[in-house]
Amino acid sequence: MVKTTPFHPRLAELNTTQLWTHWAGYLSATQYDVAGKHEYFGVRNAVGFFDASPLHKYEISGRDAERFLSGLLARDIRTCRPGRAQYTIWCDSSGHVLEDGVVFRHSDTDFLLTAAEPNLSFLQSQIGSMQVCVVQVSEQYAMLAVQGPRSRAALAALAPEVNRLGYFGHAQSKIAGCEVTVSRTGFTGDLGYEIRIPSDDALSVLDAVLEAGEPHRMRPFGDQALNLLRIEAGLPLIGVEFTSSRYSFNEHDRFTPDELGFGWLLKGIDDESRPFVGRRSILAERANHASRWTTVGLSVDSRAYDSLFFDAGLVPPKDEPPAAWETMLYDDRGERAGYATSYTYSPMMQTHVGIARVRPELAVVGNTIHVEQTVNHVYTTVAATVTKLPFFNPERKTSM
């Protein structure tokens, strides 16, 4: 039986479409009203909120907590001060990515990790003789993401702490008399915050946020808008861009951090003082130039796209939800170049964009890649340019 999050009673009232999807065992709104696309515009131009409660959450504490995470996570947790958070990944010993998540550091010895998939037994299996305690707190907290250029103004009235929070900073605050943790994090690539709330207080806090957001035209946004937002932000999604190497059947289903575009997380990997799971394999991959793929952005030549359809007597489609399957890519000679894992029309970019894996020698910004496209029931291709990720990266995302 599918579960509902602590926000559900209010969200059910707000969801005029009654369109829901299942996410991590919970009901999650697909879109809240008939103008689903406008939820996306609401986030990019004002402020929207999203129920992120179904995320799995783990408290990790104890004298050795830092050493525990430092040896497990590929990103160096020692550089994360209390009051800061990190986007991170963890790998298997062969240097393939297991999963990703966000880790919040509350003190020298107290952390909270959020992840899209359950990880309790895995985390506990890594403890060994260290003095660490890993506790699942998934259902104890609801998570509310408040995202968009007006998010700071909307929340400042309730939690003035937001005015001081730098990108990936977090602080304790009180909203509607309830203790909450507010962090400057999110999955939209925009200015935005996430509020972690004890589940029993979730509705009181949501109501306060709704009231504070009303003058700023705050509105809920669903899964569809989030998917478009995160693709524009170049943010990979587990289950779409990659799946855990633990569940791969062959080498085509597992990827290294460098292949997934996570190389930037591995700053300081040469530092011998921090062995972590997968490190030696990743170093060997780098030394041998053994990466099979490079993750890039693709930006479709909109003129070519429009002509492709207009010349065939059709109207160019630009409003479908992101492609639910991989899109094949070819080089100039028609050889297989790789594949796009996410592919959609981007209103901010005014063309189709894709998060793609291509052969490393093709991953040069400005290179042309040909994207498979069906027109009049026949496969053809449309030209796209290799670009950097993210596609959309406003200054407000990180500025104070």
Binding site: A35, R217, R303, K318, D319, P347
Partner: protein, 531 residues
Amino acid sequence: MTDTNRYDAIVIGGGHNGLVNGAYLAKAGLKTLILERRHLVGGAAITEELFPGFSFTTFSYALSLIRPEVIRELELVKFGFNPIHMPTSFAPMENGDYLLLGPDRDENLREIMRHSPRDADAMDRYEHDITRVLQLMYPLFDRVPPNIFGKTPEDAEDVAWLLGHLGSAEPKVVHDAVRLITGSIADFLDDYFESEILKGYLAASSTTGTKVGPMSAGSGLVSLMMAMGEHDGHLGSWSFHKGGNGGFTQLLATAAQAFGAEIRLEAAVDHVITKDGRAIGVVLADGTEFHAGVVVSALDPRQTFTKLVDQRELPDDLVESIDRFQFNGTSAKVNFALDAAPRYPALGDRTDQYRGFISVAPSIEYLERAYDASKYGWYSERPYLDCCIQSFLDPDMAPPGKHVMSCFVQYAPYHLKGGDWDTERDNLGDTVQATLEGFFPGFGALVLHREIVTPLDIERVVGLSEGNIYAGDFLAPQMYFFRPAPGWSQYRTPIEGYYQCGSGTHPGGCVMGAPARLASQQILKDRVATS
């Protein structure tokens, strides 16, 4: 004169077409100067804080017809192009009911069925037929019109292209296009629909900016022009730019400058300097001279041919055509700062109907009666209003909880019979407010401030002759290879080096950028030919 006053190209007028043209020329490497008479660029596409905290789109108020080519070629995304989709259309009715359409086809059909079960599937047929006509028209928008009077092999090629294009379409599609271009929207809609509110809503755009009523021949053409918009693959849909249309023209200015164009504000051009039949520069009202081999007028045809140059330098037939060119401005604006969102009784406290246009046009008869007044030289007692509460789309345009509302008003003829606009301005504002009060009881009490823009104000402030928002009526004899005059539709003028790029040229008005883009192509082609 110093070297600093010498340019390759000078563009007169910093409206959206002047900026687009200047940006293209600068991008092609020409040392380009854009001269704007006012203290800000944008022409009729500006956003101003006329009441503290409230941003008004004084004149033009939405974006849709901007060609994708302009966005692409001027790399506007890089400079911050930020369109906002307008997902709904709301049409209040005199009996308190309403028509509310959104992006979901099936919900729309159910909503239409409320008014007429027969009109639901008719709507699908109508939309499909219009889309087919749009497909036929788009290629005409993105090309310089053929000179059907020309004698060169190139002219023959252009004409052959046009005939080939029309000849390759299905006969029904071409016939529908001709029915729209020459006929009335009322007749066209009668072939599909019976519901008064649906017909009123669909006919409303046919009256925009031109002195025709929905029952007049020619109203179909205006309707077709208004449907030429495209937003994210939705043909005929409208959008809004962050910060209003002023936000968009500021972005165009940024792009033009990034490509190297120089913009001078408060630089009113007195006239174009000509020598031996060619343009060599301009003189400002203060006497400053700038010289260039290319001078481009982004102003309307009347100003381009009769104010900026001495019409004695032009052929008689062109002067006559320009004299005959119709500018019957019939549109006004009333913009409101509101203390809160208006309330529509049948929808209670709902406000989601305000995320697009609010069309006060409950029937074709309502529109036609509104038009009647203008025929006899007066403004409508109950005008057609095309409103948008823009702060619902962009909350930065009004203080939290407050709203800014743009109301386009039709009909308000430039030439009043037995009155003048300086006397009637407030009365027009009252008429509009009373009309809104009739549909949204309590509206008047919400008004914190209002700005009334008559056709005379449009002419005075923006410079558009007779306040015509398209720089010349959308009438068949003033379109395509007749815009602005037979034989002069290819952006050149009889004065060598002097070009036209404003909305008075093909394809016409609205914040489209197409005239300026096509003009820049001609200018650059001519430079190659003469160098």
